[in-house]
């Protein structure tokens, strides 16, 4: 990158500038590594310590004991396989619902423009103004007894999937992207007699891959990171998510086993992040900044 920033290249080219630059760079890079990677190192390494070493003072920087059994014990005691499976199930189910219903809605609002479409979009966006935590109580009561169909969704995946569709921000992002697709492209297809469904499927969706990627990642990560809502709506231990399951068992297991469990729980999202970091970080700024 050659863009000009705060400090002029002329200053940086000087000997003193160079020395300052490199010392600041070393300081920040070193500091970041310690502050952000340090706790993660501590997490992984403490997971290998035995029961005495993990609570020893002073703590050991490099584990002296090596007990990888902690990880297998954590896996069994906390039933991590079923917690992981549940979380995957909820996250990808929510993703499917959001991709189908929110994409269809955004497409309709952007391209098909039904009567009252603007009002509906306005009401959807209005939900962004309501603090999410305030809505938790009435939402919970709604899940206990869904109006009209009179069903109790407690301890069913629907309690996660259906409310996840009400993601006005995703609809907004999708609609804004669909708005930007050249009109001529879609009109040509309609002229050839393609139905709206066909236009969506064969023209809009292929063009929209980048934004679909962003929306998908945020949908999955959103469910993965949620805590309060799954704790309330999935109280059955057999149906809990990773976050809630680990939390509810955290007092009953030895520290080193708990830490091993935390490491295992962190791995999936960290791996996803390392693979999709460009999309995730790009999507983050695309969602907040325009232009």
């Amino acid at each position: 990158m050659s863009t000009r920033t705060l400090i002029s290249p002329a200053v940086l080219a000087k000997r003193r500038g160079k020395r300052l630059y490199w010392s600041a760079f070393a300081l920040v890079t070193g500091g970041f590594t310690v502050v952000f990677l340090g706790p993660l190192y501590w997490l992984v390494s403490s997971g290998f310590k035995d029961t005495q070493e993990v609570v020893r003072t002073p703590p050991t920087l490099v584990p002296e004991s090596f007990t990888p059994e902690n990880y297998s014990r954590a896996w069994e005691v906390m039933d991590l396989s079923s917690l992981l499976f549940n979380t995957f199930y909820y996250a990808f189910g929510a993703l499917a619902f959001q991709l189908i219903l929110d994409v269809a809605a955004a497409y309709s609002l952007s391209r098909l423009r039904p009567v009252l479409g603007k009002a509906i979009l306005g009401m959807m966006l209005a939900t962004l103004m309501i603090p999410a935590t305030v809505l938790v109580v009435p939402q919970y009561l709604t899940v206990l007894d869904v109006p009209i169909v009179e069903r109790n969704l407690l301890n069913t995946p629907w309690a996660i999937w259906l409310p996840s569709v009400t993601n006005a921000f995703n609809i907004f992002l999708l609609k804004r992207f669909f708005d930007s697709i050249p009109k001529e492209l879609l009109d040509a297809a309609s002229m050839d007699g393609a139905s709206p469904m066909r236009v969506l499927w064969s023209i809009v969706l292929p063009i929209s891959r980048p934004i679909l990627g962003v929306v998908s990642i945020f949908a999955v990560v959103g469910v993965w990171k949620d805590f309060l809502w799954p704790m309330l709506t999935l109280p059955d231990p057999a149906k809990q998510t990773l976050n809630v399951g680990i939390y509810s068992l955290s007092n009953g297991v030895p520290v080193n086993v708990l830490i091993a469990a935390l490491t295992i729980a962190s791995l999936p999202t960290l791996i996803v992040f390392l693979i999709f970091q460009r999309n995730i970080m790009g999507g983050l700024t695309a969602g907040s900044l325009k232009g």
Binding site: F32, A105, R113, I120, L135, L162, D179, S180, L232
Partner: protein
Amino acid sequence: MSAPSLTPSKAGSSRRSTPRPEGPAPGGAFAKSLRRNLTAHSFLIGAVVCFAVFSWWPMAREFLLAFQRTESGESVWVGLDNFRTVFNDPAFWQAWGNTLWYTALALVLGFLVPFVLAITINEFRHGKGYLRLLVYLPVMLPPVAAVLLFQYLYDPGYGLLNELLGLLHLPEQQWLQDADIAMFALVIASTWMNMGGATLIYLAALQGIPGELYEAAELDGAGLFRKIWHVTIPQTRLILSLMLLMQIIATMQVFVEPFLLTGGAGPEGSTTTVVYLIYQYAFNFDNYGAAAALGLLLLVLLAGFSAAYVKLSRAEEE
């Protein structure tokens, strides 16, 4: 996948003003318009039903609940009784005080630090990708993992943090057990977990500042701090204000950090927050009316910030 493709051009927006052929139309056109609308609404219906059931109805219900009480399965109107209950709760003022204190602390740490870091990283010619990756890493952790990790670091007996303080010859702290310190401990953990997003957004904003502005400022003899004050901050003012508002809205709703780190209330109630109090009313005391009343107060307070946010982001779009 290139970044520019995520930021749509203005091509679509010009269409918005094109008037739709409507009004008195022959039967054929009416049928056509009807069919078009039916198709459009059939695409919308799924999301609209979800919004209606899980968003719009709960929003309305929040208002109803605040003025009702449930007596043997029946909802009874009780006027302002719920608000009286909430106001007379000794925890009420403490919770607001704690929440405001948390918000203030989180702003100092979570608003200033990411901006300063972003300015610094933006100057580097090397390793930007690595630094961006690091700062965003904690955001991807499941919150329970991050919070329980901090609990281990904060432990008064064998925690790493007290060990580090000891090395620096500083007094050890009862991080989560001391009423005066617990809130700081929460803010540190929460900032570590959440500052990545803000840092990346500031970085993107800084990259949009035209370099000529700095050159011009230098010609006028401006030093480093004057350049920041007269160029960097004015150029990023909008995004800074938006992030400030967003952060206030988010931190005023803090729940997970105190709930997990200090069991909610904390030592001497020092970490009871408004949302934790709402949680307690609803799920420990089965008093949905009081929970809704307190929620409504929070909603009204935050609505001001939300409205300012919407107004500002409209301004950005123009």
